[in-house]
């Protein structure tokens, strides 16, 4: 049978129609093939990138800042993760309702929020650092595009204001701003790590695409502070400042054997946990940064200088008239005694006596003793901003300056520096380097300032200060022998010494038989009527010393003065020894 013979089946098409349909089909195929070639061959990076973006992630491994603790492991500073709210203005889409809700959650007015969010137009910025965990949950459930929570570490100071001046604080970016936080920034700071990973559909990490750069955690730091003693110093100083209506004050407690700073308290104080309302004044660590004219607390160094050169003995008698003329200046004693021994000059704090002792030395000799004791030099505690005080070169001294230097005017010191210098008397002539960090006793070598004999003789003189007839009778500590020196210095106001504005101080040590602690106290401008160092700074010293010695369980060395060695004790008294 022939198809062509059938009329109905005869294909009656023009050839151009066949060609058109065929080429259309081919063109369609070519488009699909071309697209496939474009995607797979030419534009492959783009698609590969999209795929990787879904599966691959760059993770930042967080590193937290090291902890700071006291010598017994009590925490002073710790970093803990918190959420903070960030915004990307490019992606931010916030309806009016959401805006009002967000403002309510953050506890701010809608206008304020609008202003905060309009701070930048691109990039990203923080809206609130940190937010509370409750706020974080609420914000996360709102799911506003362009607003996101970021996990950050925030620094907390459990001891609060008690150790604030030593520990210092960090800013919002976790950089140390003051104190130990600043001095040991490099050690405390951690270094973030990086990780390049691949994830599966459910968000699990499947494998590492590159070697992990591990995060370097910040190092921990154990300070020399003893939080218990620090608290005692803080409490007693705060009480004294209120009672004496003083402007400020400082207490430094040193370990006489190792030079470690066991406590350092200042008034006024600040709270390092509250980052708002920062004022620079209360944040200053006065004991380290501020200088003052030491007044009579310098006199033991005069005595040490003359003893050392063999010019006098502790019982040499010196005429001490009420006034004594040096050049045009009249040196005056407020409680005159016609004759005093060297030891009594220290005990009664005679200006005339001290001047006569100092004038028996050349300026160079006296300067050399002061210089050796650390005046005019950095105390070396490593604390940021510590001051060297001022001690002018002996060649420039006029005779009157030589004289006033004998009772503590014309040079300036910091409390830390002065307390450190007394370590020479406490530690048989050897001064240990200061430290804010806890250290082992074998690590350190001291610096010899006086011979052991001279140091012990001066210490014996200092002990008479706290006994009957001395200027520091309010510094007695029951059960212990105490040695120390009072100081009451006029402050300079408008270039001249104000007759009624004082800076009172006391530096002392106990137990005097073998000192364990040195405590320096300064009270700035006591205005409650009492101003002598012995009756303002002295009682603070006695309170802190008594409590600290009990804290450290130092055995009493006073022979039966106030401590009863009882035979028939009441039953309520604990039988534990040492009074710890």
């Amino acid at each position: 049978m022939n198809y062509h013979s059938k009329k109905l089946l005869k294909l009656n098409l023009a050839p151009w129609r066949m060609a058109t349909v065929g080429s259309l089909l081919l063109a369609g195929l070519a488009v699909v093939a071309g697209r496939a070639f474009y995607l797979q061959g030419i534009n492959t990076d783009y698609l590969q990138g999209k795929g990787d973006a879904v599966a691959n992630r760059n993770l930042t491994l967080p590193a937290h800042r090291g902890q700071v603790s006291d010598r017994n492991g009590q925490l002073l500073a710790i970093s803990t993760p918190v959420e903070s709210l960030w915004a990307r203005p490019d992606e931010l889409k916030l309806s009016d309702g959401e805006r009002a809700q967000l403002a309510r959650v953050l506890g701010m007015s809608t206008q304020e929020l609008t202003k905060t969010l309009a701070r930048k137009t691109h990039g990203e910025f923080s809206v609130r650092r940190p937010v509370t965990p409750e706020q974080a949950v609420k914000i996360a459930t709102m799911g506003v595009p362009g607003l996101y929570l970021r996990r950050e570490f925030r620094r907390y100071y459990p001891a609060g204001e008690v150790a604030a001046h030593v520990v210092g604080f960090t800013n919002v970016d976790d950089l140390g701003q003051e104190g130990v936080e600043r001095a040991y920034q490099d050690w405390l700071a951690g270094r973030e790590g990086q990780r390049h990973i691949q994830r599966d559909r459910r968000g699990n990490t499947i494998r590492d695409l590159a070697p992990i750069q591990t995060a370097q955690m910040g190092g921990n730091l154990a300070l020399s502070l003893d939080l218990n003693i620090q608290y005692l110093a803080h409490r007693e100083l705060a009480a004294a400042i209120v009672a004496l209506k003083a402007k400020g004050g400082s207490v430094v407690v040193l370990d006489a054997k190792t030079g470690e700073i066991l406590a350092l308290a200042n008034q006024p104080i600040f709270n390092p946990n509250n980052r708002r309302n920062y004022k620079p004044g209360p944040m200053r660590n006065r004991a380290v940064i501020d200088t003052f004219e030491p007044g009579s607390t310098i006199k033991p160094f005069v005595a040490a200088a003359v003893l050392e050169r063999g010019l006098y003995r502790p019982d040499s008698v010196i005429d001490t008239p009420e006034t004594w003329r040096v050049g045009a200046k009249l040196v005056r004693d407020s409680h005159p005694h016609p004759q005093l021994t060297v030891s009594e000059i220290i005990q009664k704090s005679s200006n005339v006596g001290a001047v006569k002792l100092a004038m028996s030395l050349t300026p160079q000799q006296y300067w050399e003793v002061l210089h050796r004791s650390g005046f005019g030099q950095l105390p070396g505690s490593g604390f940021p901003g510590e001051t060297a005080g001022r001690l002018r070169d002996a060649a420039t001294w006029k005779p009157i300056e030589h004289a006033t230097m004998a009772y503590g005017y014309g040079l300036s010191v910091s409390l830390l520096q002065l307390t450190r210098a007394y370590m020479a008397f406490a530690n048989d002539g050897e001064v240990m380097p200061l430290s804010f960090l806890k250290r082992e006793p074998q690590e350190i070598a001291g610096e010899r300032v006086f011979s052991p004999g001279v140091a012990r003789k001066v210490r014996a003189m200092l002990e008479t200060v706290t006994q009957e007839g001395g200027t520091g009778m309010l510094t007695q500590v029951p059960g212990y022998r105490v040695a120390g020196k009072t100081g009451t210095a006029h402050k300079v106001v408008d270039g001249r010494y104000a007759p009624d504005i004082f800076l009172s101080s006391f530096v002392g040590m106990a137990p005097a038989s073998n000192p364990r602690l040195i405590i320096g106290v300064v009270i700035d401008e006591p205005s409650g009527g009492v101003y002598y160092g012995g009756s303002t700074a002295g009682p603070v010293f006695a309170q802190v010393m008594a409590a600290s010695l009990r804290q450290l369980a130092v055995p009493p060395d006073a022979p039966e003065t106030a401590t009863r060695m009882t035979q028939n004790t009441p039953a309520v008294v604990a039988r534990a020894g040492g009074g710890a």
Binding site: H64, Q67, Q74, L75, I78, S79, T80, P81, Y156, P158, A159, G160, V162, N204, T205, I206, R207, L227, N228, Q230, Y231, R235, P478, G479, A547, R550, P555, P556, A562, T563, R564, M565, T566, T569, P570, V572, V573, R575, G577, G578, G579
Partner: protein
């Protein structure tokens, strides 16, 4: 000859399956490791928070106040303190 080929094919299939199996195990273990690392990290953070909490509770100022007010403790007056020297036992 064909028998050897058959054995080789079987061995090949077995090896392929073993590779799949071990690949799967490695992924499971890796996921497990990641989970545990995350847990360790979480515990670390919790430890820090607990330390902070303990530090806050043990703050000397707080202990001082509580001892004085709630417990009514006082420092013993000096005539009530007895000092004993420890003598080491023979």
């Amino acid at each position: 000859m064909s028998r050897l080929n058959a054995i080789l094919v079987l061995a090949l299939v077995a090896c392929a399956l073993a590779v799949i199996q071990s690949q799967h195990r490695s992924r499971t273990y890796f996921v497990e490791l990641e989970r545990l690392k995350k847990q360790a990290h979480g515990l670390d953070e919790q430890w820090g928070k607990l330390q902070l909490e303990q530090g806050t509770w043990a703050n000397p100022a707080r202990v001082d106040t509580l001892a004085r007010t709630r417990l009514g403790l006082i420092a013993p007056p000096h005539d009530r303190v007895r000092v004993e020297t420890l003598v080491s036992a023979p």
